[in-house]
Every structure is written in structure tokens, then in C-alpha cells.
Amino acid sequence: MGAKRKSREAIAEAAEEDHKERREEEKTSRKSQVLASTIKNKEKRSAVYVKLKQEKKREKRKKAKAREAAEKRALELGEELPPKTVPRTIENTRELDETVCKPDDEELFAGNDADEFSGILKQEVIPKILITTCRFNSSRGPAFISELLSVIPNAQYFRRGTYDLKKIVEYAKNKDFTSIMVVHTNRREPDALLVIGLPDGPTAHFKLSRLVLRKDIKNHGNPTSHKPELVLNNFTTRLGHRVGRLIQSLFPQDPNFRGRRVVTFHNQRDFIFFRHHRYIFDTKETKQTEIKAKKTTEKDKEKEDASTPQGKTIARLQECGPRFTLKLVSLQHGTFDTKGGEFEWVHKPEMDTSRRRFFL
């Protein structure tokens, strides 16, 4: 406690000094200075702005220095470090949402048991996926589909031909498929993904962007045919929960852990990031390889380091498979029927009242 107080006092002193200086400055400047935006001469105005900016920068640096000094002192004296300030991000200042799922909500679990995916998620049904395209499909579209086929086990590609999507849904229902994925391309570039749950599951329409295929990823690995593990991050609200379950129902629920293959759907600010990795447990003694690994997957490694307890074994990641970003456009009740269907959620412009409002 004492240590903390001391350090706090030090900070307070520094702050007080700052304050005094600033006050003096203000006193001198107030007489001469008017509000910068009211100056009509542009050159003079910009000069004032430059001055203000410099001042701000100086102050910021001073603050950082004081903080550093306090930390250093605490470290030297072997005291408790001053608490680290948490930067304010858009995520942690998210607008309050009453639809966020709570762990003690019995209605949520009852609803989960009753929903369309429960059969697959309870491993009563093995997922079987039909992948098809829009009517005109070329270049990156087929390449993306071939990679999707390697990511999702038990998936089959069917050429679209000129069939109606509703006919395809009927066909897939009869053949006991559990989901349909439709990759929509525009100007030879995949730009939308449609996931239809069968036989009566919801239809999710995603915008697909920032697609990087396997061959464009440096030092990519080649996935094995093992069943992958699935990571779903940050699907918090009711809607997010439902979308998460829809995605979960595409994959088999019994991963082969020997395959060491992970598929990640990471939700951040309503964008769902898809990544596909292989991982390996390694010991730290092999220094050379570690350095090499650091170069390739620095970011990923940092994450892993943080998560693994301090020891010799570490996990290394190698990215394989495509990389893309999804954004939910609409979630429709029932199978594909854009004209007469009932939507559970549609994005409307009037919902965008704040940048800190998220739906997933």
C-alpha cells in the first residue's frame, strides 16, 4: 500500500508542477490569445495552430516521461508497479446492449436445445455441406471454392448450372445435406457468401471481403484431411450467438486433435475474420528454428506466448488455407426466400446511430 501511495504522490507532484507551469503560461497567453479559429488571416491562424500542437506534444511527452520514471523508481525500490492504464478502444467502450447473452439464462439454453442446429451440435447428425456458386463463376471463385472444400470436411461442390436456388435447396433437402454454401462472385471476385441451414434452418447472408488465397500467403502450410478444431471468438449477443451456432454447424463436432488444425472465426466490431492454421508444440531449445518462426508469424507467436504458461514448450502457428472477412448483411428465418421470407435481422441505416454499437 505504502509503495503505491508514494508513487502516487510522486505522480501527483509532477502533475502539480505541470499544472503550475501551464497556469502561468495560460496567464501570459490569455491576454494576447484569442480563440484560434476566430483568426481570419490564414498564416497567422496556422502559426497559432502549430504552436498549440507543439505544446500538446510536449505535454504528452512529459506525461509519458513522468509515468516511465515512476515505473522505474518502483522497479528499483522493488515496490509494486503503478497500475497500467488501459487504453480506451471502441470495443471496450461499446454501447450497452441488453441482448448480450448471460451465462445463467435458462431460456437461452432451452432456446438452444430447440433451435435448428441442435441436432448437429449434439452430434446426432453429421454435417454434410453442399457448396455451389452463383451462375457466372470464374477465376478466383473456383479457386476459393477448392480451398473451402479443403477447410470444411464432408463438403461437396456442385456446379450451379442454371438451377434456381430454391430448387437446389429442395434437392439438398432430399439428399440429406445439412447446409448449403453459395459463393457469389462479382467481376470475377468473390464478394458474398450465403449459408443456408437445412432443412428449415436460417439463411445468413454475408458480405465477403479481403480474400487472400492460399498461394498468396507467404510460407503457407498445406492442410491435412483431419477434422479441424473450431475457434469462435466474441459472439456475444443473441444474434451473434445464433450466427456462431450457424457457423459451428458447418463443421463436425469431433475434431481430430492429432491433426493440429484450427479454423478460427473471430468477431471484432461485427466483422468476422476467418483464419486457418496448423500449429505445432515445440521446445524452446531449438533456437534457430524459433528465430525463423518469429520472422514468419511474429504476430501469431506473440499471442501464443502470452497464452502459454512459462515453460519450455511453445506452440508455433503456420497459416494455411484462405483468409477472408465476413460481415453479416441479413439473417433470414427459414430457407432462402428473399421476396416472401421473414427476416430475423436485417441491417438498416437507421440502426447506425453510433460507431460503438455492435450487433454480434
Partner: protein, 440 residues
């Protein structure tokens, strides 16, 4: 800076609504006047939850007999069970298994609980239900209100008839005088039946092919009678995002039909004034339109005016809209699992309550306001009610049967009866004033 406070909705007057969801739960939402300071109303909250979450109990249709004394609520579940519930405390009065409507593809789509005459109910203690299944089997059955819910008996006078030979019925409605019923659905044109004779009296005719010679197949998703007294005017919403007005008296084709946005019309409700219609679509748009007759130019024609949309971040399909019988409020609910209360005049969102499940039906208990007023002004029952209570007392003397009465109200009133007699005049004034406040 992040906005940490929610956008405040203007509060709503005291209201009590019941919502019915896909897990078979009935939730009671109340906005009560705050004790102590008059005029302020707490935000609507879930005060009660009846039933256990069970997907096979999913409520498909509900209807309320909204009376001051001994109100009833009928509920049709997916399992084919029809329950008559006391909407005040959730006790099941009668439950009956309907032989039809237990299949998946032949589920109950429409349910109507007939209003009972007060004098009649005290003598026979039964209620009448009209159920419609998706295949078009309509049943008119009286149910005995036994005290124990176990022994429910269906009387012999069950009338059953088929509304359509093919197609799926998806909507049905009963007019204000409860003499006529209308049906419509996928491949079923709107048709009107006389309930006493069980006879079809009118069928609509599909609109002609368009200029390209394309015929749009009939698919009605919602329908209602426009006026309470008049059974001749019908408003229907179609899957092809059309709202149509039919007039039985004039022609078989729609008198007016207009498009609204791009999603199918899922719910239609008429206003009390007989010329405003509220409709909600499959993508969560709610709007009101004025349908009115008028003389324009040389020939008789109808004029319609879209009054405007109700905007309030409503993102899921609207399944049910209900108009409060007295206050200028409508309640809507649907797949976004919010119950929303809207002001009719300003089309402003008054309040939204998150209810966790997909909601199928919402109903409003119109007598709550009076009930809610009692704690604030305990001696303010209206004149009619006073008589009713006296009436009741008489019955008690006669037949030694006590009907279940509105909870607080009745007990208090019976106690206060003598007081009330003395204070009749100031009482009236008081109630009027409160009414005015609510209106304003």
C-alpha cells in the same frame, strides 16, 4: 466520447401486454404508475412468466376475451393443445386437445375466443372457440369452464367445416359482432363465412393479369376487418407486398391495392376509427395508411394516403400488431424478440422491451389501466362497474356461485361499496381528469 446513456424513449402510459413466444412462454409486461408521485409511469417490465420453456409448446395463436370481470385468454400450442387461461394470474381454466392440428403441416393458424355476455356467462359458464388449421378445417366448439382443469369436456355441439379444398390457410379473423369470419392464405382467396349458418357468403376474385400477361399466384399472409361494426370491408396483406381493401358490397376484386416496400406484409391491424390501417412487413417495417372513401373528380373512387412509417431500429419480421382499445398506442412484436410500443399520432417509439425469444403474438389487456389507477386513487371506479359489482353480489345471493373477479379491484370495491355510494360525484370527476391526462 462514448455515449454511455441509452437514447431515452418517452415513457408510455400504464399498460399491460401479454406476449406469446416460440418456447411456449407467456410473458406479462406491465408499465405501472409509480406509487407516490402521480403522473409518472415506470418503464415497461416483465412482471410475470407463465409456463416452462419447451419447444413443443410453441404458441401459434392466441385470443383474449377482454372484459372487466372474469376475462379469459385462449392459447393454441403446436402440440395441438388449446388452453383457456385466466389472463390475470395464469391459471389454466380448461385445456382441450384438438384432434386436428396435431400434425406438423396441419397446425392451428387461427384462434378466436368469443366474447361472452355477462349474464350468459354467469349461467352457463362456458366459452366458445373458433379454431382454424392450415388445411382449412374450421371448428366452432363450446368449452365448459370446469373448476379443475383436469376434467374438461367438449360438448356435442361441435361444428366443423372445411374452408377450402386446396391450399394453405394462413390467416383468419372474426368481425366485431362475431357473426362473420374471413379466411385467406396460400392459394386461398379471401372468403367470408357466416358463422351461424356455417355458410360461405363471399369469395374474392384474384386481380387480373398485369400488362405482361403475368399472373401472380394468390398468397395472403394477413387479413382483418376494417371496421368493428361493418363486416363488409376487409383489409388484406399479400406476400407480394400488397395491401388490399375489399368491399363485399361493391365488387369481388380489390377496391384499392397498393404496394409497400419489398417484403411481404406479415401483419395487418385496423384502427378503431375505421379508416386507418397498420401493417408490418417481413423485414421489420411498420407503417400506417389511411384508407378512406371520397368523391374525386366525376366517378366514385377511393383515395388512400400513406400516413408514414414507424421508425425505431426494428430489425426483425413483425408477426403481430395490436391496437390498444382506448389509448392511442399500438404494440408490435416479431422475430427480433422485442415488444415495441408506439404512439399512433406521432409515430414515435415509446418503449421497447427485450423478451429473448421469437415472439408470435402480442395481446393487450385493456382493463389494466383502471386497475393500475386504483392504488393512486382508490375510490375511483366508474359508474358502470359499480353496477356490475352490485349485480354480482345479487348473483352470489342467488346461486352461491362466486365468479373469479379481477383481483385487487373486486375485493377492494366490495369493501368500499358503501363509501363509493356516498362519494359518487367527486369520484367521476377524478376519473375523468386522469383519463384526460392519459390522453394528453
Amino acid at each position: 466520447m462514448p455515449r454511455t446513456i441509452a437514447v431515452d424513449c418517452p415513457g408510455c402510459p400504464p399498460i399491460r401486454a401479454l406476449t406469446f413466444d416460440t418456447l411456449g412462454l407467456i410473458k406479462v409486461i406491465e408499465a405501472r404508475p409509480v406509487d407516490g408521485n402521480q403522473g409518472t409511469v415506470s418503464s415497461p417490465k416483465v412482471v410475470e412468466r407463465w409456463g416452462d420453456p419447451n419447444p413443443s409448446n410453441c404458441i401459434l395463436a392466441a385470443s383474449i376475451d377482454d372484459r372487466r370481470i372474469d376475462p379469459l385468454l385462449a392459447v393454441a400450442r403446436r402440440s395441438g393443445l388449446i388452453e383457456v387461461i385466466n389472463p390475470l394470474n395464469g391459471d389454466i381454466r380448461v385445456s382441450a386437445k384438438s384432434d386436428v392440428g396435431s400434425d406438423d403441416d396441419d397446425s392451428i393458424v387461427g384462434l378466436h375466443l368469443f366474447r361472452r355476455e355477462i349474464s350468459e356467462s354467469s349461467s352457463s359458464r362456458s366459452c366458445t372457440l373458433l379454431t382454424t388449421t392450415a388445411k382449412g378445417t374450421t371448428t366452432l366448439r363450446p368449452l365448459e369452464l370446469a373448476d379443475s382443469s383436469a376434467d374438461s369436456s367438449i360438448s356435442d355441439s361441435v361444428k366443423t367445416w372445411r374452408v377450402c379444398s386446396s391450399g394453405d390457410v394462413s390467416c383468419s379473423a372474426v368481425d366485431g359482432n362475431e357473426c362473420y369470419a374471413l379466411y385467406g392464405g396460400k392459394g386461398v382467396e379471401v372468403n367470408v363465412w357466416d358463422l351461424e349458418k356455417c355458410d360461405k357468403i363471399w369469395t374474392a376474385k384474384s386481380p387480373p393479369k398485369n400488362s405482361l400477361g403475368i399472373f401472380t399466384p394468390t398468397w395472403f399472409t394477413s387479413a382483418t376487418f376494417l371496421c368493428k361494426e361493418d363486416h363488409r370491408k376487409i383489409v388484406a396483406g399479400t406476400k407480394n407486398h400488397q395491401v388490399r381493401l375489399y368491399d363485399i358490397a361493391s365488387q369481388r376484386r380489390p377496391v384499392i391495392s397498393f404496394d409497400f416496400r419489398e417484403a411481404s406484409i406479415k401483419a395487418v391491424t385496423a384502427d378503431l376509427d375505421g379508416n386507418t390501417v397498420y401493417f408490418g412487413t417481413g423485414s421489420g417495417d411498420l407503417a400506417s395508411a389511411d384508407i378512406r372513401t371520397g368523391l374525386i373528380g366525376s366517378n366514385w373512387s377511393y383515395e388512400r394516403k400513406l400516413l408514414g412509417c414507424f421508425i425505431g431500429k426494428c430489425s426483425g419480421s413483425i408477426r403481430s400488431i395490436v391496437r390498444h382499445p382506448e389509448l392511442p398506442i399500438i404494440a408490435s412484436c416479431g422475430l427480433d424478440s422485442y415488444l415495441r410500443l408506439w404512439d399512433i399520432k406521432t409515430r414515435q417509439l415509446l418503449s421497447a422491451v427485450f423478451l429473448k425469444q421469437h415472439l408470435n403474438v402480442v395481446l393487450v389487456d385493456s382493463n389494466f389501466e383502471d386497475e393500475g389507477r386504483t392504488p393512486a386513487a382508490p375510490e375511483a371506479p366508474s359508474n358502470e362497474e359499480h353496477e356490475v359489482i352490485q349485480n354480482l353480489d345479487g348473483e352470489v345471493e342467488d346461486g352461491n356461485v362466486l365468479l373469479p373477479v379481477k383481483r385487487k379491484k373486486a375485493s377492494k370495491d366490495i369493501n368500499n361499496q358503501n363509501k363509493n355510494k356516498l362519494k359518487l360525484k367527486p369520484k367521476k370527476k377524478n376519473s375523468k381528469r386522469v383519463q384526460a391526462e392519459c390522453d394528453g
